[in-house]
Structures are given as C-alpha cells and as structure tokens.
Symmetry: C2
Amino acid sequence: MTTERKPKMAMSKLKICLIGAGPSGMSVMFHLNKLAQAGIQIPQVKCYEKQSKCGGLWNYSWRTGTDPNGEPVHGSMYRYLWSNGPKEALEFPDYTFEKHYKRAIPSFPPREILFDYLKGRWKSGGDFDNWINYNKIVRDVKYDNVSKQFNVRTKDGVKNEMGETENFDYVLVASGHYSVPHIPEFPGIDRFPGRVMHAHDFRDASEFEGKRLLLIGSSYSAEDIALQAIKYGAKHVTCTWRSKPMGFKWPESISEKPLIQKFDGKTCTFKDGSTTDVDAVIMCTGYLHSYPYLEDNLRLRSPNSLYPNSLYKGTVWMGPNGDGNDNGENKLLYVGGQDQYYTYTMFDVQAYWACKYILGDIKLPDKASMEADWKKWFARNGSLKDCHEEITFQGDFVKDLGKEADYGHDLDVDDIFHSWEHDKYRDILTYRDKSFASKFTGTQSPIHHSNFMHALDDSMECFLGDK
Amino acid sequence: MTTERKPKMAMSKLKICLIGAGPSGMSVMFHLNKLAQAGIQIPQVKCYEKQSKCGGLWNYSWRTGTDPNGEPVHGSMYRYLWSNGPKEALEFPDYTFEKHYKRAIPSFPPREILFDYLKGRWKSGGDFDNWINYNKIVRDVKYDNVSKQFNVRTKDGVKNEMGETENFDYVLVASGHYSVPHIPEFPGIDRFPGRVMHAHDFRDASEFEGKRLLLIGSSYSAEDIALQAIKYGAKHVTCTWRSKPMGFKWPESISEKPLIQKFDGKTCTFKDGSTTDVDAVIMCTGYLHSYPYLEDNLRLRSPNSLYPNSLYKGTVWMGPNGDGNDNGENKLLYVGGQDQYYTYTMFDVQAYWACKYILGDIKLPDKASMEADWKKWFARNGSLKDCHEEITFQGDFVKDLGKEADYGHDLDVDDIFHSWEHDKYRDILTYRDKSFASKFTGTQSPIHHSNFMHALDDSMECFLGDK
C-alpha cells in the first residue's frame, strides 16, 4: 500500500463537444488532461469520432466509397505515403522523435513511423479512450439562443440508431477538411474508357504499373502521386494545371501541361493544343470544407486556405458575416481548419489556445476588434506572393497563438520550411533524402539507408533498419 | 380562341412528401396526375430528389465517391449495361415499347433504350418537373404525434444550406436500396497490391482489359460484371461464393470458387484450399437498406429481400416491431423496397396502390390483421426453394396489389421469367439473344443484329440499327 495520493481530476460544470479524434482533436484532449493533472479544473469533454479508431487520416484504410457503417470513407491516406516535409518541422517540443524512438531517425519517414510517433505523444498525455465515443457520427449541431447551449445530435454508426440530443457549452470542430473531394467536370470525361478517380480514392500506386496517367491538379496530391506512380512502375504521368505548373525538374516520365480542355476517348487535349493518350485519370483537385452537421449559421464556407474567413485567431467562429453575430456567441471553435505548412505543432498550439480560452485565461476583445483582426490576417494571406511568404505567414500565425496562449515553447521552424522548399526546387526526386536537425534536441538526423525513389518498402521495420 | 375547357387540377389539403424521383417515385407522380386528370381531387405532392435529374439509378454518372455537392454518389449504374431481363417482363401495359419506339425492338436492350422508354412513359402522364425539387437532400424525417404530421427537413445541395422544416401528412420513401454498398472485410485485403472496389463504383469494364479479376459474390452484380469484363477483354474472372455458386455454364475464362479465405499479396486462397492470383478485386456483395434521414422508429432495417419485414402489402410501414405501433400511424409508405424480378411494373402497381390508399379508396384492416398479413408473406418468402418459387411469389405479390388497387391491367409475366431463367441456365452467354413476345401487343420481338457477347457498342443508334 502506498500513501501517495493520486490527484483527482477536477471537472467544471462546462461541457465541451469535440468533433473528431485526429491530430487536432487529440491535441485538445492532451492539453486539457495536462491542465487537469496540474490541478486546474477542466470542463467535461465528450469527443465524437466517426471512425473506429483515433488518428484521423493517419489511419490507412483499404476501403473507398463507404465505410462499414455506410458512411462516406473519411480518410484519404494511401499506401507508401512518406512524409513530404521534414519531421523536424512537425516535431512536438515536449515529445521529440528521439524520445519516442530512443534514437535519431531520418528526416522523411513513412506514414507508420509518423503515426506511431503521434500515438506515443498522445499516450504521454494520458489515456483518452474514455473521452472518445467511436463510431459516432455527429448529425446536427444547433445553437440555442435561449439556453445558450449547443444541441448536438449524433448517430451510432454500428447500431444504425440516432442518439439523444445532448447539450454542450462549447463545440470544437476538429473533423478535418481533406475528406470530401472536389471533383470538377471536363468535356468528354463521361466517356473516358478507363478509370477516373479522385486522389481521395487513391490507395496503391502499384495498380498503375505500366499505365499512362493523367493527374489533374498542381498541388501536393499531384506532386506526390506523380512521384509514387513513377516509383511503382507507371509508364508516364502527365500533370495538368489550371493556374500554374508545379515547375519542378521532373524526370522524363513526368511532364506538365496547361489545363485539359477535353477528352476524346483516351486522348486528352490541353490548352496549348497539344494532345496525349492516357489510361487512367486521377483528379488531384483538392477537397471541400464540409461540415454537413453544422447549421447554416455555424458552418465555415471557405476554399482551402492558410487563413479561412470569419475565424478570429483562425479559431473562433465569427458567424456567416464574420462580424461576431449569429455565431454561437464565440463558443464554436474550429481547430485545424487551415491549409498547412505547419501541421502537428500548429494543431497543438491552436488546441492549447482553445483550451486556455475556454478556461477563461484568454479574453476576447470586442466584436469589432475581433472582426478587424481576422480581416487583417485574411487580407495579408490574400497578398502572399510565393511559398516563402506563405511559410512566414503561417509561422507568424503559430507564433501569435503561442504567445497569447503562453504555450511555453518556441515552435518556429520557418527556416526548415524555407530550406525544404529550396531542396524541392533543386531536385524533386531527392529532397526527401536530405537531413535536418531537431530544434529541440539539436541532433542532426541520420541519412536513410535507401534513397526515397528506391525505398519501396515503407514498413516501420524496414525504415528503422530492423529488417 | 377555343371554348374547350381545360380541366383544373383539384388539390386536396393533404400534403405528400415523396422522396426520390426514380422509377418508383415517378410512378407515384404519374398516377396521381392521371387521377387528377380524371377529375379526382389529389393531395399536394412535393418530391425531393438528391440528384440533378430524375430517373434514379438509370442516370449514368462517371463519378464515384462523392457527387458535385459532396454527397455520396447515388447511382450504381455502369457503362455498357444491357437489361439482364427481357423488356417484355417490365413493359407498362398503358405504354408499350412498340408505342414508344414506333416499331418492335429486341428483348434485351441497353440502358439508354430502357431509360428513354421510361422517360416516354413519364411524359405520357404529364410534366413533373414542377413537382420535383432537384438537388434537395432529405436530412430528417420525424413523425409528430401531436400534429399528426411528419416534419421534414431538407438540404439544398447546391447552395449547401439547410431548408425550412416542412410538414406533411404522408411520406413516401422511394429512394431505392442499391446505393449504399455492403463491403465486408477479408484477411489480407488491406495489403492487396491492386485495386479493390465495390460494384457500386464499377463504371467501365474496359479498365480491366488483360487483367485477372476476383469478383466476390454470386448474385446479379457478379453475374453481369463477370460477363462484361470478359466481353471487354479481361483475361480471367474468378467468382467466389459464400452460400452457393451461380452454377452457370461459364466459358473457360470465368470460374467459380468457394469463399475467399485470405489474400497473400495477389494470391487468393479459397475455402477448398485452392489458390489463384488476381490483379483486381470487385466486391459484388450487395447493398444496404439505408435511410439515414428517417428517425429510428420509421426506418426499415432489412437485408435485400423479396418481402422486407414490417411492411403491410410490402408498402405500409408497421413500425420497428412490425405491429403497427410507433409507425407514423400508417402514413409512411415504402415504394420499391423489394428485391426484384418484377421491376417497373411492380413499382407502378405499388405506386398505384399507395395513391389509392392515400385517396381513401383502399381501407386498412385492424393492426392485428395487418401484422398477420405481412408476416404470412414474410414467412412464405422465407420458405422459397428456388428462383422459380421466387418468381411465383413476386408475381403473386404484384397480383395482390393490382387486385386490391383495381389497377385495371394484368401484369402477370411469371411465364416470361420462368422461361428466362431456363435460358440463363442453358447458356449464360446467349440468353440475352432470345426473343419474347409482348403481353400487350402480342408482337414477337425481333432478334438483335448482334449477339450480346459481340455487341460492344451500347448506343441507342447502334441498337436501333440507325448507325
């Protein structure tokens, strides 16, 4: 028997509904639990997760279309995905990769390595399985102006039954925005004699061995799927862009064309009049912000953006007009709604800011100041000229949140991102073979035993050299 | 100027919410309008259709996954689909194929021919575009025991906005049950190095040219996709069954195996211990009855069945216990909820029965008799031994509805179905080359200019011989 006293968790009467147990939602629970462990009275948290596991899109599923509960498959994760940014740019200051793996590992790990790291970090903060209601689909969220609470109705996906409506003081939306694909139409695509799909349904590059692919789009999905496809044996990849080409020094087997104008059978005609024949089409045309469970006045409507409209500090919903009216009285928060350079750490500082705000440690200015603030950031975002300005912008956003929330760690990795962009433009095939140093341990990462373009086995054992 | 008086449509105060503008929903509107044209006072009808066009699954879309509104793609239609039953078994007595095409056409037409025929029949009954609210997704249907009405909440898919809640006296569910796939799990499928998909996402057989396919399932999807795949150049198709094989005299390029036990890479191991390597997997594992918009007490839960539980006359919802309680007081009707031999005509007579019931021309017996009635049919369905007994069963169901509703035409085509089944078991490759006679015109259909297995062009022009 021990005399040691286990601290009892102090719960306030406030109730929080947290939607989604991906990296953003997990960071919310992590910090609330840490604060509780420090003796601070925290609200009750109920997290609803549509999937049967936590981790959001870091869960790989072979499924496409609908999940076992008949709901649209949430994840867009594919096999053989390797980090496209250095791990040193997403490392948690309180839980480094070296701490998790008990050794230094290379800078660009595959999915399993990143996911295992995430799980380790979550575990270091507590066990949240009791907080999370799995297979629960949030169906309706309304704000009741009389009771001053949100009414939240959920569905049990396994039982195929609606649950009771529950009331909450705060709602935190952390359901992500890379789940519902944007799929445009092109003349003749309805008669294309081959596979037409969105990157959301891309699972295994080896399906395209020996094939000629058309990728529509010029952002991360196109960039990465083009490389994956070539790596696993595709014959040729043509990427077609609307605004501007990616502009990397592609190998001969990848080329870029201005926007596809029409399909005649397998023949694609591009805006410059050139043509090429392809066997399959993958739309890398991005995703929709989709929150079908939120009432109109609570629903963010935005393209993918480093600073979506109507969010004070990128977090507090300001209502459909962005002026702080009809917005759930500043009690609806979006976590992780941004387009991203910074990822895990941005979600983390934003989650921390949200927790401190709910606990009352952060005060909001008046409506007009809040509106002016998000509009200032929004306008600055609109004026950014290149990826380097974007990096600095998001770095400033992360720093702003960290400072106000008193996060306690410097999360600035702008320099890593700048350097990484230079690497990519120098050579898109080798940028993942570079090494960066951890900001928190100072350790320079070792070089991986295989170059990315030759590393076909993405298992943890192989990456760690245990196999 | 004419002195002829156009009859004014007489509307009762009753309001009907009709969910879905596929063949079942269109039949409801067709008959209500016909009744109105005959001077009968009909209820106001508001039809909500998720798609941008009427026709339900007869609309082909190249899209898979989500539609332009971010909603799950409804249709399971694929290219090159030809009717798998003779058109004489689905012909409307009041609108024959000969009437529509002004000539006799072969018995097994491709999709476009059937769809055009459907559109012709609908047009012969009126113009329903004013009744149909397109791109409207029904989100919630509840029955209010106080007002004795259904509260129906819809979403505008294009505007991405919730609509007002509307109240209705009746709700007719005609949203179909071949839209949400059932996708089981198999050991090793998560590491299968190739495409894994459900038949719902199957679009173009030519994608599988030169490939070895595994089809999981032994019902219509497997049967038809196996033939399509071979027809368009697949190297080999293996079909794997759980309960029993399809048992047709397959060509050498199609074989049947007992249930798949596991995948090791591309190698499938079956229950008899045999193995085969495949390049892609198509799950022909059926669909879920999915009515996510209905409150629990209103929601049919059933496997695909010729006689789903808890539906009096296969139509009137009897509540979760099937006893006529908590069921929306007999004002929730399902049209087209059955598994099918009979199709268009069954939907039509069921729609007609529903209209006559709502108009008060058909009276319901007491709850106990209603329960006894559906249970009798349900039990009989459970005891059916083969496809011929199933055909007779569904023929009896159709006749029962027709008789009570005074449909006015004999819809019995059991003999055509029996003969068709014999043809299929004689030769699965040639059964679509047979000719049947119309029950209503007596005309024997001409033989198509190309045998099905050689007819690669499924266009209307080609089929009609105009090309």
